[in-house]
Symmetry: C2
């Protein structure tokens, strides 16, 4: 209408909109997806490894033969057929006591986190989360107007003493921590895994503090060296929300994830989902159900594991051979990501335009912290590119870093990053970084 | 964890959870979907009318030939290909100036409403909406902790004077109305359509009051008698959010809807969607894009129109022939629903168990009001059942009503509805009901 300008909208936004900022990953998406750029930035599985002809036939049949239900509305919780299959999938990870009644199907893992956040978080509530943590979870907590307090990790994952300290510091500040959000296995972005011993310690600490646990486990089945440790939910039946997705084990383009929820919460979780999307896609649910029922999906996961292990090895070798002295990185035993720490004085965020110019992309570490730290880090993905491309990407990246280091040697740090002082918040001081132990 | 009981969770829920209640429709879903029940309750399109074999072939090809993108992650706003097709679809409804850049693809129409609500509503904000209105929108506003003020309708839709009065009353109460939520065409549940003249009046009133308009238009293409009036968004370029979906024109099981947003808001809307679901399903978007590009989708809509017109006629005839005296109803010229007003003294909510026992289901009017009114009304769907089934459903329903009326004649109203006093809030007094004009 006449007179409605951009300023008019600004004045009308809800308070939750004020702090919203474009994620690092999103701003990079357009450039990083150009074919000439070696992207170490995304988190995409290598879909080309799927038997696409067979999947196509399966999906065609799903519409032609079951279209009257698979193309129709469904119930908010998700179909009982898929929820039963999901319980079978979880039992392979060691969660053997799940009831389909307590599974809520979601629009990918992202909606699972958002629903839990909306169910439990009031503005000002505190969420404890690993530092660094999943960028999409930070977006969820920001939209919920919650405050994230990061908990440090080392090579064995979340540090129990740091968790206790974070709980105490939250209480001292007179704030309420509602839950611990954790990706214990093949963590995104750090690539580290919470050790068996620490799993029990973390659960005990949360139990004593009356803190719920939101366990995000998208990567647990993508282990390169034996089975992953038992999920937290396999160790405690109540107080733990277990979230996962078929994005990494089948296909992200269908957007099918789930929550295994404590029974008392299930009804409210479903209602929250209905208010959000009415119901998850019946077709996508049918697709996953058919895939799990009729295709060799566990064999396919082995294929993914082999491909990703080879690529991880290629990335680690390239880093070893090519990275400038002073660079360190994690050595993941599964999942999709390596977390690198740059030589002192380099700034991953400021360096990004030069990297893109050199046709390589990564995600600066700042995307994975709520508090602006992470300029000394970057996330490197190894699932999507071939071993050769990964090596070429690291070669280009190390070239940019060498240049920055040379510039720094000549001009000092200030000339390199005009207006971008490297920030070091209190979380950084607490956090040795997952590759240091 | 030991000691975490149901009460512990209750103590932890966010404030927005407190008012959440199961919708009328949801509680009925399980019983109403039994085959022996004639369901006039749902809002499902008649999917069996789709050429399912051809759709199956199309979806099979989409996975087999384009799987590397259609099964992969995509961008939060949705694919440019689909957004361009959506602009073509909107141009058929008279919105000729939309840019694909201002279209945001959503998980059905429901997510579109939820995103807009989260973008603009703080707890305590007021939303103006027709009374009755879409039950899913009420769920959205409740989750946003907003307060709904209903605006009365008559057979020509929203009453402009009632809108002005609602705006003034909101201001007098010291509250802020953020937007008008309206379904101007073939309204759900009332089945009425805002007249041409009133469209301009409503837009003028909102413009003067500085009120945004959220126009929900899922049914506009399902007209039985010539074209529907021009959408509000076709009359004003700014200040109007236009929401629609492919659920009624193609298939709800894919969950693909969209918002055409004022340009200034687009970026924030996309960010809100990313925090919610990361990205809409690439496969579902590809399916709709292929459907619109390669199949005779406009012919298919004509097929739906013919089927639904025949069913509307069957429902209206049955109501005419079989309903007890004193019952009135709307006469929709498109869409999926008839809104009925019961003879004085009957209570649609209290009557529901007896209707189910008589093997017929409907949605009690209370589901469509935020304030508990609507016990004298019910929504009847005519899109899903055959003309014969519709008549049989009305026959069963009128039997239940006759019984209730007879009981009432013998025992009076109190004996029929123990503990269920028919509530009449202030909104009911304002609202003549859409079938009275």
């Amino acid at each position: 209408m006449t007179g409605t300008t951009q300023d008019d909208y600004t004045d009308r936004y809800a308070r939750r909109v004020r702090g919203m900022t474009t994620s690092e990953i999103r701003a990079l998406f357009a450039v990083a997806s150009r074919p000439e750029v070696v992207s170490l930035a995304g988190g995409s599985p290598y879909i080309a490894a799927l038997p696409l002809d067979a999947v196509g036939e399966m999906l065609g049949d799903l519409a032609a033969q079951q279209g009257a239900t698979s193309l129709q509305y469904g119930i908010g919780q998700g179909t009982i057929e898929l929820r039963e299959r999901i319980c079978e999938v979880m039992s392979l990870s060691g969660i053997t006591n799940a009831s389909p009644d307590d599974v809520v199907v979601t629009v990918g893992g992202q909606q699972a986190l958002d629903l839990i956040a909306r169910l439990f978080l009031d503005p000002g509530d505190v969420v404890l989360a690993e530092g660094p943590t999943y960028v999409g979870a930070l977006g969820v907590f920001q939209a919920a107007q919650a405050q994230v307090r990061h908990v440090a990790m080392d090579a064995e994952g979340l540090i129990p003493a740091a968790l206790e300290e974070a709980i105490e510091a939250t209480a001292r500040a007179g704030r309420r921590a509602k839950f611990l959000y954790t990706i214990p296995t093949f963590q995104n972005p750090a690539g580290v895994t919470l050790s068996e011993e620490r799993r029990e310690q973390v659960l005990d600490i949360c139990e004593r503090a009356g803190l719920l646990v939101v366990e995000d486990d998208p990567y647990g089945m993508l282990s390169f060296e034996g089975d992953a440790p038992l999920p937290l939910r396999a160790r405690r039946q109540t107080g733990v929300f277990y979230c996962s997705t078929f994005s990494k084990t089948f296909a992200p383009g269908l957007r099918v994830g789930w929550v295994l929820t404590p029974h008392a919460v299930r009804e409210k979780l479903v209602m929250m989902s209905e208010a959000n999307v009415l119901c998850p896609s019946a077709f996508a649910q049918g697709a996953v159900t058919q895939y799990l029922s009729t295709m060799p999906w566990q064999e396919q996961i082995k294929v993914y594991r082999e491909i990703y292990r080879e690529r991880r090895d290629a990335l680690l070798s390239a880093l070893e051979d090519l990275m400038p002295a002073g660079t360190t990185w994690t050595r993941p035993t599964g999942g999709l990501f390596v977390w690198a720490t740059l030589p002192d004085g380099l700034d991953s965020k400021a360096m990004m335009p030069r990297a893109i110019a050199a046709r390589v992309a990564y995600v600066p570490g700042t995307g994975f912290y709520a508090d602006g730290t992470g300029r000394g880090n970057m996330r490197l993905n190894f699932s999507f590119s071939s071993p050769e491309r990964l090596r070429e990407g690291v070669r280009r990246l190390s070239g940019v870093m060498e240049q920055d280091l040379a510039m720094r040697a000549v001009f000092g740090g200030a000339g390199l990053q005009p207006g971008h002082q490297r920030r070091r918040g209190p979380a950084a001081a607490d956090a040795p970084g997952p590759d240091l132990a």
